[in-house]
Structures are given as structure tokens and as C-alpha cells.
Symmetry: C2
Subunit: 285 residues, 2 copies
């Protein structure tokens, strides 16, 4: 199976519409229809249910959609990392969520520099981006946050675990409490929890305001439009917000993640610096 065929199938499977898929692939519809038929003939598998002019995925089609996405990411990752290895020899790209894991990151970079490591290009990006960048090869390592990021397929080392706190507007009744439970926050219809984007960038329906980044979140809380649950170390800047510990929120673990089977000495050295600096252990080897 060629990556071209995979790209075509994934486009069709996601759009469930040959015309739109062809559009997205910048090609005409007839060759796309033919390519999918040919793929089905070669695999000897029916991937699409063509009842009338509606199309739906067969169970086998579902499998190829899921596995194909992973495979395509792996190919793209290989290509990008090869390009970067040639263009900037010895350089490493580290991706992390802007505003998160600040202390961990600075400690990590200091330890790495002290050990004489190569140049690290730190990319501070949006929600969910570090994971995507690591998957498609735009990054060599990433700092991810469990349980929010999907880490399957990566190798990990744990760096830091912390509790979460509630952010509330000053003057709110709950703001004076010494500690809170998550259910206390959920019981406030006037102060809903915000909605974060799904991996595909869309938002699920719900009462809370849709939120994109940390700054926006702080602003919304300050305006009394939402409350929030954030890791203890999340910066609150000078915002006039109340911070109340949560006793039953899931703890957040910061991990350093890298693609499997990595042989890059630079990345290995960075991981070593990170883990010995934080004196933590490796989860998966």
C-alpha cells in the first residue's frame, strides 16, 4: 500500500463524500473514486458501504482509518525529522504548551546545557500541539501533561507530578473556602467550567465558554464568567483571582516524550539530563 492511497482513503473516510475529499486533495473526483476502488480490489477488502449515493465505512474501513492515520503520521514524521537532521545538524526541537511546565523546562534546559548538549529549539505552542508536532515530526521531544495528552506510541519519562487548584473570581462565595471539591465547582450553574478544544479543534456542546488558551481563561475567570481547574504551577500572573486547593482533582503529571526507537544521541542526552535532574524514573523502555 502506497502512502498516496492511504492519504486518499483517509480523506474520503473523513469526509464521507468523494467530491469534498477530492477537493481537499486538490484533484478531480473521478480519479479519486477509481483509486479507492483499486485499493479495495488490491486489498481484497470492501472499505466503503455504498448504499445508494450515501457512503459509510465498513468495519474494515474503520480499522484502516485508525491505523492509517498512525501510519501516515509515522511516514510524515520520518520525512520531517530527516529533513531537519540535515538542515540543522545536532539541533533538537522541543515542543511544549505555552505557559505550562515553566520550572520543569528551565531546570531541564539548565541541566542539559551543563552537560554540554546541543542547541535546543524550544517551541511554545497551543493546546494539543506538542503532541501533534511530535507525531508528525515537527518536534523531536515534547513535554506532555497526563492525563490530558494522548501519549500512546511514545516513550516517556516522568518529570513532575502536582495537584490542581480552582481559580475563582474574587468575591465569589466559594473563594473564601480553604479547600474545595470538584463537585463544588460543578454545582455552580452561574460559574461553569470552560470547554477546551477537542483534538480536531472543535468544541463539544456545553454550558461553559469555549476557551483557547491560558490568558483567555484567566480573563474569563476574572470577569466572573467561568471558574477553572488548573495545575498548581500554572502562572496566575498579576490577575486578581482567588486560588483554592482542590482535594479530589486528578493530579497532573508532566512527562518528557519522544518517538519510539530513537537513536539520536542528542535526544537521549536531553532525556538523561531531564530525568537525572528531576531524579525520576523512566516509565517505558
Amino acid at each position: 500500500m502506497e502512502t498516496r492511497e492511504l492519504r486518499y482513503f483517509i480523506a474520503v473516510a473523513e469526509e464521507l463524500h468523494f467530491g469534498r475529499a477530492a477537493d481537499r486533495l486538490q484533484m478531480a473526483q473521478p480519479p479519486l473514486s477509481r483509486a479507492i476502488q483499486q485499493l479495495e480490489r488490491r486489498l481484497e477488502v470492501s472499505l466503503l458501504e455504498r448504499s445508494g449515493r450515501r457512503i459509510a465505512l465498513t468495519p474494515a474501513g474503520e480499522v484502516l482509518l485508525n491505523e492509517g492515520r498512525v501510519a501516515l503520521d509515522a511516514v510524515r514524521g520520518a520525512e520531517r525529522r530527516t529533513r531537519r537532521a540535515a538542515a540543522e545538524p545536532g539541533q533538537i526541537v522541543l515542543a511544549t504548551k505555552a505557559g505550562a511546565a515553566n520550572e520543569v523546562l528551565t531546570k531541564l534546559l539548565h541541566a542539559y546545557r551543563a552537560s554540554g548538549g546541543a542547541h535546543v529549539d524550544v517551541q511554545l505552542v497551543g493546546i494539543g500541539e506538542p503532541e501533534r508536532m511530535l507525531r508528525d515530526g515537527r518536534a523531536d521531544v515534547a513535554l506532555l501533561h497526563l492525563p490530558f495528552d494522548e501519549t500512546s506510541g511514545f516513550e516517556l519519562a516522568e518529570l513532575h507530578t502536582e495537584g490542581q487548584v480552582a481559580l475563582l473570581p474574587l468575591g465569589h462565595p466559594l473563594a473564601k473556602r480553604k479547600r474545595l471539591r470538584v463537585s463544588d465547582l460543578e454545582a455552580q450553574p452561574d460559574l461553569p467550567l470552560p470547554r477546551w478544544p477537542e483534538p480536531d479543534g472543535t468544541y463539544l456542546d456545553g454550558p461553559g465558554p469555549a476557551v483557547r488558551d491560558h490568558v483567555q481563561l484567566l480573563q474569563l475567570v476574572g470577569l466572573g464568567r467561568a471558574c477553572a481547574i488548573v495545575p498548581e504551577s500554572a502562572p496566575v500572573f498579576g490577575s486578581a483571582l482567588a486560588v483554592v486547593p482542590l482535594v479530589d482533582a486528578e493530579p497532573v503529571t508532566t512527562v518528557i516524550a519522544w518517538p519510539p526507537h530513537l537513536r539520536s544521541v542528542a535526544v537521549a542526552e536531553l532525556v538523561r539530563a531531564a530525568t537525572t535532574g528531576a531524579s525520576n524514573e523512566i516509565l517505558v523502555t
Copy 2:
């Protein structure tokens, strides 16, 4: 980048010889040379060092070799699992090393059957094969053994941990001891430890006999040609061998592994049955 190009490059990078690589790919040498040049031109990266008529990999070439292997496996895995999903709906292929993890496996299958799961096709295969089968899609789940198998890129759940024991021919001086250390075995030049195959099927040089499977191993020990270090639960059948506990051998952990991002309900159910039956926890989610 197309999988064809990846296949070609990997063949050349492994053989470091266009003629042999072309041979392996069942094609003529000139089109292969051209394909690689074209790949380098498209990526704008020099992958091979052509000094005279010798060939060597550039650093970028090393990256592409490593990452490309993983990516190719992912594509092949997607294809095979799609084929199997269509050919045998609901069926799961579980791969494990023949003769290993017997009790764990039977307990697992019982728990799964009790929970009303689908049909499981159990493949008992050779050293290192379960891992390969999981990587290239011939299996949906595998029982692997840490620290021997390479588990990077998979999701895992721990099932069982056990110590290792020494196997010695009856009558050997060490056979009467109550316990041994690994260094005791290594200090016996007349009774070397056997050599197991590397992932590529070749054997490293060394004093011990090259060994392929468990039966062969038991025979060699019985003949007084080798000693062995095996997990406690490894079956010794009726062989007349001495079994002595080892106090400092690395413990062996049996894990159930599956490809990342799996949405198959059948596999999820099997993993659930395995972990609740063994009452153990999941390592990576």
C-alpha cells in the same frame, strides 16, 4: 514520500550496496540508483555518502533508516490488520513465545471466554517473533517479556513478574548449591551461557553454543554443553536438570502489548480480562 521510496532506501541503507539491494527488491540496479537520487532531490537531503564506489549513510540517512523502518512497519501493520478485520470479523490474533507464560496465558483465555469475548487465535511462535508480528500487523495483541522484548511504541499492561533460575546438568559442582549468583555461572568456562539470536536473526560471537529455542536449550544443558538462565515458570518437562534459584538475576515481567490508538472493542476487552484477572495495573494509557 511514498512507501515504495522508503522500501528502496531501507534496502540500500541496510545492504550499503546498490546491486545487492536491487537484487533483494527484485529489480534492476539502474532504476534503483535513480529512485534514490530522486528521493534525495525531493527531500533536498543527501542520504548517502558516495566517496568513490563505497557507500555510507549520512547522519540524515541514519535518521531516515531508523524512522523509516518504524513507519514502514506501521503501514504494513495497517494493511494486514485491515485485511484480517475483513476476512475474520471479530477474531483476534494473539502472539506469544512458544512454551513461555503458560499459566498467564491460560488464565487470560479463561477470563476472556468467561466475559463472552470473541474467538482468539493463539499463535505460539519463536524468539522475538511476537514483537515482530505485533509491529507488522500479523497479530493484534502479544504477550511480551521484559527486559528481553523491545516494547517501545506499544501500549502495555503488566501481567506477571517472576525471578529467574539457573539450569545446570545434574552432577555439576554448582548444581548442589542452594542459590547462585549470575557471576557464579559466568565464572564457569566449561559451561558457557548460550547465545540467543539478535533481532535480525544473526548471532554475536562468543564462547557459548548458538541456540534457537527452549527445547534445544534443555538438550544442550542436559548434555553438559551449557548452563542457562530462565524464568522460574519456564517448563523443564521431564528433563534431568538441576534447577537452582538465582539471587541477582533481573526479574522477568510478562506484559500484554497492543498497537497504540487501538479502538478495537475485542482487543480492549481482552486486555481488560487479562488485567482484572491478574489484578494488575496498566502502565501506559
